[in-house]
């Protein structure tokens, strides 16, 4: 499985990657982006990904703007997108879901939370892998 992790913190990108692996998700490749713009460029040019995990609050293009632009350009259609953020307001969560995110987790988080929330989203992908 190929994952795209979007966060302006390189430490958090590593933490998320570790958490995904600890949750039992086998990652063959992890692509990283520091904001929405970098993520869009990856989606435009790189091989398709199977999972996108994104922060919301980032400098440049934030996670919500990324969701919107991804939809406008029809990039990675059908790929599950999961938000991991400190911005847990109801409004932001609703905007993320409306923008195409399948779910979210608030920071701080545990690998167990990742397993419980993200793995079910990947079951079709895991079954066909």
């Amino acid at each position: 499985m190929r994952a795209l992790i979007i966060d302006d913190s390189s430490v958090m990108r590593k933490v998320v990657e570790r958490a995904l692996r600890q949750a039992g998700i086998e990652l063959s490749e992890v692509l990283q982006a520091g904001n929405g713009n970098e993520a869009l460029e990856i989606l435009r040019t790189a091989e398709p990904v199977d999972l996108i995990v994104s922060d919301i609050n980032m400098p440049g293009m934030d996670g919500l703007q990324f969701l919107e632009q991804r939809r406008v350009e029809n990039l990675a259609p059908g790929v599950p997108i999961f938000m991991i953020t400190t911005e847990a307001s109801v409004t932001l969560v609703h905007r993320a879901i409306a923008g195409g995110a399948r779910g979210y987790i608030c920071k701080p988080f545990t690998p167990e939370q990742i397993r419980v929330r993200i793995v079910p989203l990947l079951l079709p992908s895991l079954a066909s892998a």
Partner: protein, 152 residues
């Protein structure tokens, strides 16, 4: 704030965090507690309350915490990652504190974290720019870390 800080260190780092000790901000800057060079990470918040949350720790501490988070050797952690960790911890503590303060935080936003490395004797503390401040001292795995809340 205690709950927020303890939660972040426990959940993200699996580290115990002793209950806070309030220190008088204006007369006990971090220089008296945390060895230089130290990192000061700051996240501004706007909404029902306006102000800033600041987290300060030594570079050694930041390297240890980064190693715990990433699985790397503390000696191999570059300064950029130390700053990254300090900023992200500040971000999470501010977010966790915000959620506890205001159930309807829709109009309440956090800035992206900024991080500075303090190497000189120059007094650098957000308390000087705000009206009300509180500084809490924690010990995380024996490392001193201060968390400052300042309100406009």
């Amino acid at each position: 704030m205690d709950e927020a800080a303890v939660e972040v260190f426990a959940v993200m780092l699996n580290l115990s965090c002793t209950p806070s000790q309030t220190i008088p901000t204006r007369f006990s800057p971090p220089e008296s507690i945390i060895t230089r060079p130290y990192l000061t990470a700051r996240v501004n918040f706007q909404g029902t309350l306006d102000g800033a949350c600041t987290v300060q720790c030594s570079k050694e501490t930041a390297a240890e915490l980064t190693a715990t988070l990433t699985g790397r050797n503390p000696g191999d952690i570059p300064d950029t990652l130390c700053a990254d960790t300090a900023g992200e911890l500040c971000n999470m503590i501010a977010g966790s504190w915000k959620i506890r303060q205001h159930p309807e935080q829709a109009a309440y936003t956090l800035s992206c974290p900024t991080v500075k490395t303090i190497v000189s004797d120059a007094f650098h503390h957000p308390a000087r720019r705000f009206r009300e401040t509180v500084t809490l001292l924690y010990r995380v795995a024996d490392h001193p870390i201060t968390v400052n809340l300042a309100f406009i």
